[in-house]
């Protein structure tokens, strides 16, 4: 399941506050971030990825293109999604979050989502907290996004979301599908009686699918350490430790 990044323009955050912002004492607890897609027409949104920075609750509203004659309207797709279970403490405060549109995905896919790495971060591969959540609306024909961030705790100086990236469904890449013979045995080769003691072939094929997913995952995470050997060609004469 591939995805394609959609170029977006993230507007600066707008704080919502009651009264005069210059004279009031407290810090705003609600921020709004508008995201527009100037170079792309209405598209089907598949995934929203961002790095949280002390936002406690997130709501997302979407402006969808309906038809030529009715004006586009705003629909709430996520309401008060909790990013920080305790707004006063650090838990969840700086997590990478991926919001994936639930589209009748099976449990198997949930497994592979959880281990997918977020590439392209300057800190290198990062583990992503994936939230496969029920978006309340259909994410087709998206024109604009509005993220409403809430942080009720007075302990934090600021809060926002960073590194916002939007993805739409990419074309199905053939390399990601299983070889045909693995999932669809040729009908004429089906064994007629199931031999005693042998497992059911369809069960085995699904187990192999899961093993395949795991090996892909392991292969994707490179380890640069050589197993067992710590020396270089038998030599371990060292001078000083390096600070970099």
């Amino acid at each position: 399941m591939s995805r394609v990044s959609v170029p977006c323009h993230v507007k600066s955050t707008v704080a919502l506050q009651v009264g005069d912002m210059r004279t009031s004492q407290g810090r705003p607890g609600v921020l709004v971030i508008d995201v527009t897609f100037p170079s792309v027409g209405p598209f089907e949104l598949q995934e929203i990825v961002f790095k949280n920075y002390y936002t406690a609750f997130l709501s997302i509203r979407v402006r969808q293109h309906t038809s030529m004659y009715t004006p586009a309207k705003w629909v709430t797709c996520l309401r008060d999604y909790c990013l920080m279970p305790d707004p006063h403490s650090e838990e969840g405060a700086q997590e990478y979050v991926s919001l994936f549109k639930h589209q009748g995905l099976g449990r198997q896919h949930l497994g592979s989502l959880l281990v997918r790495r977020l590439l392209g971060s300057e800190l290198g591969p990062r583990w992503v907290l994936v939230c496969v959540c029920q978006m309340l609306c259909d994410m087709a024909r998206v024109l604009e996004l509005r993220l409403i961030l809430r942080q009720p705790s007075p302990l934090w100086l600021s809060f926002t979301v960073e590194e916002l990236q939007i993805y739409q469904q990419g074309p199905k890449s053939p390399s990601m599908t299983f070889p045909k013979w693995l999932s669809h045995p040729v009908p004429c080769e089906q064994p007629v009686p199931l031999l005693e003691g042998l497992p059911d072939p369809s069960r085995v094929s699904s187990e192999v699918q899961q093993m395949w997913a795991l090996t892909e995952m392991i292969r994707a995470s490179h380890t640069s350490t050589r197993i067992g050997r710590f020396d270089v060609d038998g030599c371990y004469d060292l001078n000083l430790l390096s600070y970099t």
Binding site: Y53, Y54, P85, D86, H88, S89, E90, E91, A93, Q94, R107, Q108, L110, G111, L114, V115, W127, L129, P154, L155, W156, L157, S158, F159, R203, S206, E207, Q210, L214, T223, T225, R226, I227, G228, R229, F230, D231, V232, C235, Y236, D237, L238, N239, L240, L241, S242, Y243, T244
Partner: protein
């Protein structure tokens, strides 16, 4: 179908859980840890240059033969270690933790509902007593415990016999999850070694013994500066301890091999620290000649050998002892000397300890703070060493049973608070940090399970 799916999900959930909270937050916190790591490297480098000893060198053949001959009695060696000093001690590490600050956190002068009166100023989520009661439900007053219900006054038919019978059954079934659940109520002495091996998934296969022998060969072939640090640490700590001095030779055999074990590098995937790097002599800057130093990436600090010493009571075969220690290190002990926001990390344990004391013994906390004896300054060394060397060994092993059973180090913070609660009356009368330290200097007579039970389940809040 569903079983495999849920197994896979379980494995992945465990991986996510392990990685969650293992990152360091915020630029400044990362900088604090980075500058601490740099300090350690500088200290090691300056020791190298001052003493004109290389970080690592290949032993000449004669020296190799000699070491091989006295492998089982390295303790009889009395090298001159006076010029070596430990790279750091727990109290240095405490200073780093005290200075951890979150730049996004309101650290104003005015008191607010979340002002931290203790030393740790990082707002991590820690459990309170109701949550701890739920988490440690098997330690409750109505559940039998080894450490309480096996005392001489209690007839063994009431609890002990049945508990031992269940333990033997668990071992017969070789059920690791059941063993983990079982040791929450303590492990009988006779079964403990096997139960811990079962929980940690250690089975002495021939390849494990071969691996250990390979590490031994590495020790014979290469001499590391870190070896001298290990020698010094063992001589200063374990050799001076009444309970552990007999195991001195075992400690060398385990720790010297541990330093050469590159498989330990794997734990840096979920540890926010990073292993120190060096280059082969003459090849500075060339990545193909970059190596980790020591090979396992862990620089021992003062008291490190105390992680191994209690295990010597359980395992007498060096390769098994080694495997058990290595597994316990990469699962638990590394969290005690590296910074992370994990609930079992040392920062969370310190905060849990201070919060428990502040909430449930406010008068004591306030009094100690007023006399300049912040409680964490006294209890930190207990927690960093997982109480090894402070408690009597049978009590320590009962404590470590629960660490394995609950897969969490939080019990260390709870025990530290329970000790303060136990000696509260004496502590209220002291007027200086030194006097407070004196009251809490000797923990060898304490019985941990009654203390924990009373603190969690029998204290009027």
């Amino acid at each position: 179908m569903l079983q495999e799916e849920s197994d896979l999900s379980l494995v992945i959930a465990q991986i996510v859980q392990k990685l969650k909270g293992s990152h360091l937050y915020a630029q400044l916190e990362r900088q604090a840890w980075g500058s601490w790591e740099k300090r350690i490297l500088k200290s090691l480098n300056s020791m190298c240059t001052e003493l004109s000893i290389p970080l690592a060198r290949k032993r000449p053949v004669g020296e190799q033969k000699e070491l091989l001959n006295k492998w089982n009695e390295m303790g009889t060696d009395e090298p001159d270690l006076s010029l070596f000093r430990p790279v750091y001690a727990p109290k240095d590490f405490l200073e780093v933790l005290i200075n951890l600050r979150n730049p996004n956190y309101e650290n104003g002068d005015s008191l607010s509902f979340r002002t931290h009166l203790g030393l740790i100023q990082v707002p991590l989520k820690v459990k309170d007593i109701p949550e701890l009661k739920e988490f440690f439900v098997e330690l409750g007053l109505t559940t039998g415990q080894l450490g309480i219900d096996d005392s001489t006054q209690v007839p063994p038919e009431l609890f002990e016999n049945e508990h031992v019978r269940i333990g033997q059954k668990v071992l017969a079934e070789q059920d690791s999850a059941a063993a983990q659940q079982y040791v929450r109520q303590g492990s009988p002495t006779a079964l403990r070694a096997e139960l811990w091996a079962l929980i940690l998934n250690i089975s002495s296969q021939p390849e494990d013994i071969l691996y250990y022998e390979q590490l031994k060969t590495n020790v014979i072939q290469h001499d590391l500066l870190v070896d001298s640090l290990i020698y010094k640490d063992v001589k200063l700590t374990a050799s001076n301890d009444d309970y552990y001095f007999v195991f001195e030779d075992y400690l060398y055999q385990v720790l010297l091999c541990f330093s050469r074990d590159t498989s330990v590098l794997g734990h840096f995937a979920y540890n926010s620290a990073s292993p120190p790097k060096s280059y082969i002599r003459g090849k500075l800057g060339l990545e193909e000649y970059a190596v980790f130093y020591p090979p396992n990436g862990v620089i021992p600090f003062h008291g490190f050998s105390m992680y191994v010493a209690p295990l010597c009571f359980l395992y007498h075969e060096p390769s098994k002892l080694y495997q058990i220690f290595r597994e316990m290190y990469v699962r638990f002990f590394f969290r005690l000397h590296s910074i992370s926001s994990h609930p079992s990390g040392i920062v969370s344990l310190c905060l849990l300890f201070e919060t428990l004391l502040q909430t449930y013994l406010p008068q004591l906390f306030y009094h100690l703070r007023e006399i300049g004896a912040q409680p964490l300054r006294i209890s930190f060394k207990w927690m960093v060493r997982a109480f090894s060397g402070y408690l009597a060994t049978d009590q320590l092993l009962l404590l470590w049973d629960r660490i394995l059973g609950y897969n969490s180090l939080e019990i260390l913070a709870v025990l530290a608070a329970a000790v303060f609660a136990f000696r509260a009356v004496n502590l209220m009368e002291v007027t200086s940090l030194a006097a407070a330290e004196a009251v809490l200097a000797d923990l060898s007579t304490l019985k941990v399970m009654p203390l924990l039970q009373i603190f969690l389940f029998a204290t009027v809040t």
